[in-house]
């Protein structure tokens, strides 16, 4: 469809939120607790955070919840009854305020969940999300979307993309999809006619720091490099990077029993954990942190491009911001580009 560009006045944003709420829409918006901003089911516009460069957690929790029921079972006289989750129970939601680097991540995550086997649970959840992207007017030293094919005003993955015209200005709203159109129609008065709009001049400047194609090519012959050991010395092997990442999809499947009933759940896991790949025999194919760090980078910049034709990184920089020991992915990618094999 043609992109419909509209004007949304800064004071209208709250009205838009309220109208959607009156139409019983579930809105996940950035909310700040303990100084950290994450997406939560939000009742009132007054709780919505603004001014963040990037939220602490990505929005992947909405389409790939950290703990998600796959099925319920109950043992009874007749034997066993098992019921998968009812996809109809998955709610329609509006994802409010995500950055273009998260919006693009929905597709990257989707490519993992649709690699030959179509994961309809993921697909259903993500199809029920209407994405309100907000372009970036500001960036920080951790941002590198432009190095992995994105940009601060990228429309990919958003249903409506809002770009603020200056620090305290009104918004350009690009209605990008039919889903976006449908939501815009609920609050049609909010989306006003726009004469001219050049959003580019309002966008953050995010310089390109490396060439992702070169990195992928290099990684193809980089498996044995000593660089992995050097880079990962200070890594303590927690899962913070994976859990804040918009495209990390590693998961575990576990049963939770309550007497004769219970459920099977899928929950986030991380390739950085030492027990992630350990066999029951005790043998561990990735038995040192350098092997696990290598897996993280290779998966995103070599395996995914080759097997799924997408990168597993959107350049949001969250992993670097969240890392308790300052493992900065951008810095490490640049040094991979620079080091001679």
């Amino acid at each position: 469809m043609n992109i419909d560009k509209r004007l949304v006045r800064k004071d209208s944003l709250e009205k838009l939120f309220d109208i959607l709420k009156q139409n019983s829409k579930k809105i996940y918006a950035p909310v700040t607790k303990n100084g950290k901003t994450t997406f939560r089911d939000t009742a009132s516009f007054s709780l919505v955070s603004t001014g963040y460069i990037q939220t602490t957690e990505s929005s992947k929790d909405i389409s790939f919840p950290r703990t998600e029921k796959l099925l319920d079972y109950s043992k009874n006289k007749e034997g066993m009854s098992v019921k998968g989750i009812d996809l109809k129970d998955i709610p329609e939601v509006i994802l409010w305020g995500i950055r273009p680097c998260d919006a693009i991540g929905i597709g990257e995550l989707g490519s993992i969940f649709n690699w030959d086997y179509k994961d309809e649970i993921y697909n259903n959840r993500s199809s029920k999300v209407t994405v309100f992207g907000f372009s970036c007017n500001k960036s920080d030293e951790y941002c590198f979307c432009t190095s992995v094919g994105g940009n601060p005003g990228n429309t990919e993955g958003s249903d409506i993309l809002f770009t603020r015209m200056g620090e305290d200005g009104d918004y350009i709203a690009e209605i990008l999809t039919e889903k976006g159109q449908a939501v815009a129609e609920i609050a049609s008065g909010i989306f006003e006619r726009l004469e001219t709009a050049d959003k580019e001049k309002f966008l953050a400047d995010v310089p390109v720091k490396f060439n992702h194609n070169e990195i992928s090519e290099k990684l193809d012959k980089f498996f044995e490099s000593k660089e992995w050991v050097d880079q990962s010395l200070r890594c303590l092997g927690c899962g913070a990077c994976a859990y804040v990442c918009p495209t990390c999809a590693c998961f575990d499947i576990e049963d939770e029993a309550h007497g004769k009933n219970g459920s099977r759940v899928r929950c986030w896991d991380s390739c950085g954990f030492s027990h992630f790949t350990v066999h029951t025999s005790g043998h561990n194919p990735r038995d040192v942190q350098s092997a696990r760090w290598r897996q993280r980078i290779m998966h995103k910049f070599s395996y995914m491009p080759e097997r799924l034709s997408v990168y597993g990184c959107t350049g949001c920089g969250r992993c670097s911001r969240a890392c308790p020991v300052d493992m900065n992915i951008l810095e490490h990618l640049i040094s991979i580009q620079e080091v001679t094999v």
Partner: protein
């Protein structure tokens, strides 16, 4: 099944066979006939077996696709799920989802001789191919099976070993590690690679299929190479840890190769292309 990749088939345990200390075989039948009708698999594929309330565990389908109406699995009691499976009785209901993974290219082996080499609890993934081949015996020339375990007690499928021993169209060699023999043991004594070297089976028009513990595999490959087997004609299976079985959970990959999708069956030529991460 269509919308939920994680929904297992309900399976009833029809028969439990005690194989060796800690090792059992379950014969499983589909609780719902409709499931059985749409289910098909090939030799080499695996599945996720589950005890509800405990979890899922990955192992191969040990019965051949040429036998319809049931599947079998053989497992050793080692972890949380296999312990729970071990506690199940005949008639219990467990879950199974699959089949996943690639297959042994049995059709391509038509007209050739087959050499099966297995160690310990690794006979089950091979048993599926062995019976598959024996059920289509006319398609193959010589069939040789070399099977070893630590002790006589640890040999699995004892009844079938007897069957194979009696068959004129199968050459079976069983062996146990030195010290693992019983007073009435009539088979070989020695580690599998040593016995392979001693028997020296011909590599002419022959496909070798090797499954066993890593150390057995490591020392058997060079012996086969010496006997003239090319890397393309030696097959084995990798058994990395898995959760999903279909390329999403992120555990089983060896470099860019996913054991659950690209494997578990690999030739030695393919293994040599992989980084040392298994």
């Amino acid at each position: 099944m269509m919308d939920n990749l994680y929904m297992p088939y309900l399976m009833r345990i029809e028969r439990i066979t005690y194989e060796a200390p800690g090792v059992k075989t379950f014969m499983l039948k589909f609780v719902n006939e409709a499931d059985e009708d749409k289910f098909s698999y090939k030799a080499g594929q695996f599945g996720e077996y589950s005890v509800y309330g405990v979890g899922e565990s990955t192992f191969c389908i040990a019965s051949p696709p040429t036998r319809k109406g049931y599947i079998e699995c053989t497992f050793r009691q080692t972890g949380k799920v296999t312990n729970a499976l071990s506690g199940c009785e005949e008639g219990s209901i467990i879950g199974f989802r699959g089949p996943y993974g690639n297959v042994f290219p049995i059709e391509e082996w038509k007209g050739k001789s087959l050499l099966f080499i297995a160690g310990g609890i690794a006979l089950p993934p091979m048993r599926c191919v062995i019976w598959n081949a024996l059920d289509l015996r006319e398609n193959f020339k010589d069939v040789t099976i070399i099977y070893g375990a630590r002790t006589v007690k640890d040999l699995v499928y004892k009844d079938e070993l007897k069957d194979w021993e009696l068959r004129k169209d199968v050459k079976l060699i069983t062996t146990v590690d030195p010290g693992g023999e019983s007073p009435d043991w009539k088979g070989e004594i020695g580690f599998v690679p040593t016995i392979v070297e001693k028997i020296a089976p011909s590599s002419k028009d022959t496909i070798a299929i090797v499954c066993g513990p890593p150390v057995m595999i490591k020392y058997t490959f060079p012996v086969l190479a010496k006997l003239g087997f090319t890397d393309e004609n030696i097959y084995t299976t990798l058994e990395n840890r898995m959760k999903c079985g279909f390329g999403k959970c992120g555990r089983c990959n060896v470099g860019k190769v996913y054991v659950c999708k690209d494997g578990p069956v690999f030739t030695v030529a393919q293994l040599k292309e992989l980084p040392d991460e298994y």
